[in-house]
Amino acid sequence: MLSIKNLRASIHGKEILKGINLEVKAGEVHAIMGPNGSGKSTLASVLAGKEGYDVTSGEVIYKGKNLFDYSPEDRAREGIFLAFQYPVEIPGVSTTNFLKTAINEKRKYLGQQPLSSVDFLKMLKAKAKFVELDTEMTSRAVNVGFSGGEKKRNEIFQLAMMNPDLSILDETDSGLDIDALRIVAEGVNKLKTKDNAFVIITHYQRLLNYIVPDYVHVLSDGQIVTSGGKELALKLEELGYDWVEDLADAK
C-alpha cells in the first residue's frame, strides 16, 4: 500500500528526515517510536502533504502511484488519514458540517453521489457511538473548547467517519486516561481489516498492549535505526532510547 524509499526532507533548509525506508502492506499495523524531535510528526506531515517541507530526495509510492503527485486534499480522498498530534480548533464550523463537507468532497472525487442528510446522520450516530462520543459534541465547533482527550477522541471519530485505507495516528494516545485509551484502541481494532493499514506513532508501549502491531520501528534523528516485532516496544520501554541513539550514531 505504502512504500517509502530513502525519503529525505527538510524544513527551512534544515534536514529532518534523513533517508527513511518503510514498507506498509494492507492488513498491517506498524508502530513508529522514537525520542522527541526525531522526526515522527515530520514524516506524518510530509505524507499528508503539509506545506513548508522540501522533499530533497527519495520517493513515496502509495497504491502504486507517486504520492507527491497528489495535492493534500486528493491524498485524503485517495484514502490517507492523518490523526493529528495537535488537532486544530476551527471556530464557527461544526463537526457535523465539517465532516459532511469532507465526506461529500471525497465522494465527488470518487465520482459518487453526495450522501443524503438522513444517511449522513445515521452514519454520524453510529460512528459516534462506536467511539463513545456524545453526539452533542458533533454539533459544536470543531475541537473548540475540547479537552486534550476529547480532541484525540474526535480524531478517531473522524477516522471512523472517513473510513480511510491508510491511517496515520500521530500520538493519538498521548494525554488519554486509561478509559479513553481503551475506547480509542478498541475503535482502531474494530476498524482494522485486511484491506487497510495503520501507522501508529507513539511514545508509550501501553497503547500497543491494546493495538498489537505487526512491526515496530524506531526513528532516531531522521532515520529508522531499528525495526522488529512487538517485543521491540517492550525493550524500548525497559531500556529507554539511549541504546537506540547509539545505533544512530553507529549509522
Binding site: 502533504g49 486534499e73 488519514f81 493529528f84 488537532p87 486544530v88 464557527g92 458540517n97 469532507a102 468532497e105
Partner: protein, 436 residues
C-alpha cells in the same frame, strides 16, 4: 461646474417642487440646511473623519435629480429584492420616489403610524415637525446637510407606547440607473415610543449600468425602555455610491440593536452614531463588510456615552479581497458624568490578497473615571493550520476557504432574531463567498 456648484444653482428648481412641505417648519429647516451645504460642501481627505476614503469618485459624476417618469419595476424583479417569506410592512422607493404600487402596510393603525414623509406632512404635521432633523445634525456634516436640503420624501414611523410591532418595517431602496446617472436622498425618521418594540430593515439594491449616488439619513428616537432593531443591508452593484448617516438618540433603559451588512456598492460610507442620553441604555452594533475588486467600504461608528450605567458592545468584521479597501473607525466617547459605563468594541478583518487593505482605528475618549472599556482589532490572513486540517480531511482549498470565511462572517449573522432575514442573509453570504 462641479457637483456642489451645480447643486446650489439648481436648488431653486428643487425648492419649487417642495409644495408638499408648504412653508412650515420643515421647509425652513430645508432652506437652512441648504445654506449649511453651501458652507460645508463635500468633505476631503484632509478632514480626520475622511482620511481613509476619497469622495472624489462619488462627486465627479453628472447626476440627474430624476429620470423623468416614475421608474417601474416588474413584480418578479421586486420579489428578487425582497426577503423571501418575510411578513413585513414593506415600503418601496425607486430612485427615491415612493412606489405605492409595491408598498403595503400590514400593522394595524392603532399600533403604529407608518407612512411617507410627504403624506405625514399633510396628515400628521405637528408630530413629524417635533422630530424632524432634531437628531441628525446638518450643521456639521455636508452630506447630512445635502440630504436635509434635497430630500423630498421618505418614511416616517411612529410606534405607539407599550406596543410591540411583530412585523418589521422594511424599506427597500432600489436604484435604477438604466436611463442615466442618478442621485437621490433617502430619509427615514423612526420614533419608538416608550416601552415599544420595533424592527427596521433598510435594504439597498440596484439595477442599471450608470453611476448612482444615494445619500441617506436615518434618524431614530428610542424612547424610555423601548427596543429598536435596526438592519442596514447594502447589496448594490459596483456602479453605486452610498453615503449614509444613521443617528440614534437613546433614552432611559432603551435598547438599540443594529446590524450593518455591506457587500455591494462601489464606495460605501456608513456613519452610525448612537447617543446614550439617559441611564441604563444598551447599544449593540454589529457589522459585516465584504469587498472585492476596487470596492471601498468605510464604517464609522460613534457610541456616545452621555449618561451613567449604560452598556455598549460593538463587533465589526471585514473580509477584503483583490484591490478592495475597508475602514473601521469606531469611536467611543465616555463623558464626564457617564460613570459605570461598560463599553466594548472589537474589529476583526481577514485580508485575502496582497493588495487589499483595511484601516482599523479605534478611538476612545474617556472623561469619566469609574468605567470599563475595552477595544481590540485584528487583521490577518486565513489560518494556514486550519486550511491544512481541512485539506487533510479531503476539503480542498476553495471549499476550505469558503467554510472558514463563512464561519468567520456568520458570527455576525447567527443571532439575528428574525428567522427569514437570517436565512436570507446567510444564503447571500454563501453566494458572495462562492465567488472567492
Amino acid at each position: 461646474m462641479d457637483l456642489k456648484e451645480k447643486l446650489i444653482s439648481d436648488y431653486r428648481l428643487h425648492e419649487s417642487k417642495l409644495n408638499g412641505f408648504a412653508r412650515g417648519k420643515i421647509y425652513n429647516i430645508k432652506l437652512d440646511a441648504e445654506r449649511y451645504f453651501e458652507l460645508l460642501g463635500f468633505p476631503n481627505r484632509k478632514q480626520e473623519d475622511w482620511r481613509f476614503t476619497n469622495v472624489n469618485p462619488i462627486i465627479t459624476n453628472n447626476y440627474n435629480y430624476d429620470l423623468g417618469a416614475q421608474p417601474q419595476i416588474s413584480e418578479e424583479d421586486l420579489q428578487n429584492f425582497l426577503v423571501p417569506g418575510l411578513k413585513a410592512n414593506t415600503i418601496v422607493f425607486i430612485n427615491g420616489i415612493y412606489s405605492d404600487k409595491h408598498s403595503k402596510i400590514i400593522t394595524e393603525k392603532g399600533k403604529a403610524y407608518i407612512g411617507t414623509i410627504k403624506d405625514t406632512q399633510k396628515s400628521n404635521k405637528e408630530l413629524i415637525e417635533k422630530y424632524f432633523a432634531g437628531n441628525a445634525d446638518y450643521k456639521t456634516d455636508g452630506f447630512t446637510a445635502l440630504n436635509t436640503a434635497y430630500m423630498n420624501d421618505g418614511v416616517f414611523i411612529h410606534v405607539s407606547k407599550n406596543t410591540e410591532i411583530k412585523e418589521p418595517v422594511l424599506i427597500l431602496n432600489i436604484t435604477d440607473s438604466s436611463k442615466g446617472e442618478i442621485m437621490y436622498h433617502p430619509r427615514v425618521l423612526l420614533v419608538a415610543g416608550e416601552s415599544s418594540k420595533v424592527s427596521l430593515i433598510e435594504i439597498y439594491e440596484s439595477d442599471g449600468e450608470n453611476f448612482s449616488f444615494s445619500n441617506a439619513v436615518t434618524e431614530i428616537y428610542s424612547e424610555n425602555n423601548s427596543e429598536v432593531h435596526y438592519y442596514k443591508i447594502q447589496n448594490e452593484c459596483d456602479k453605486s455610491y452610498h453615503v449614509g448617516t444613521t443617528q440614534v438618540r437613546q433614552e432611559r433603559d432603551s435598547r438599540f440593536n443594529s446590524l450593518t451588512v455591506s457587500w455591494g456598492g462601489s464606495v460605501i460610507r456608513n456613519n452610525l452614531n448612537a447617543s446614550l442620553q439617559n441611564k441604563g441604555a444598551d447599544t449593540i452594533m454589529k457589522g459585516l463588510f465584504i469587498a472585492s475588486g476596487n470596492q471601498q467600504i468605510d464604517n464609522h461608528t460613534l457610541v456616545d456615552h452621555a449618561s451613567p450605567y449604560c452598556h455598549s458592545n460593538e463587533l465589526y468584521k471585514g473580509i477584503m479581497d483583490e484591490n478592495s479597501n475597508g475602514v473601521f473607525n469606531g469611536k467611543i466617547m465616555v463623558r464626564k458624568d457617564a460613570q459605570k459605563t461598560n463599553a466594548y468594541q472589537m474589529n476583526k478583518n481577514i485580508i485575502l490578497s496582497k493588495s487589499a487593505l483595511v484601516n482599523s482605528k479605534p478611538q476612545l475618549e474617556i472623561f469619566a473615571d469609574d468605567v470599563k472599556c475595552s477595544h481590540g482589532a485584528t487583521t490577518g490572513q486565513l489560518d494556514n493550520e486550519q486550511l491544512f486540517y481541512l485539506k487533510a480531511r479531503g476539503i480542498g482549498e476553495k471549499e476550505g476557504k469558503k467554510l472558514l470565511l463563512y464561519a468567520f462572517a456568520n458570527e455576525i449573522l447567527e443571532d439575528i432574531p428574525i428567522d427569514d432575514l437570517k436565512v436570507y442573509l446567510e444564503k447571500k453570504l454563501s453566494e458572495k463567498l462562492e465567488k472567492k
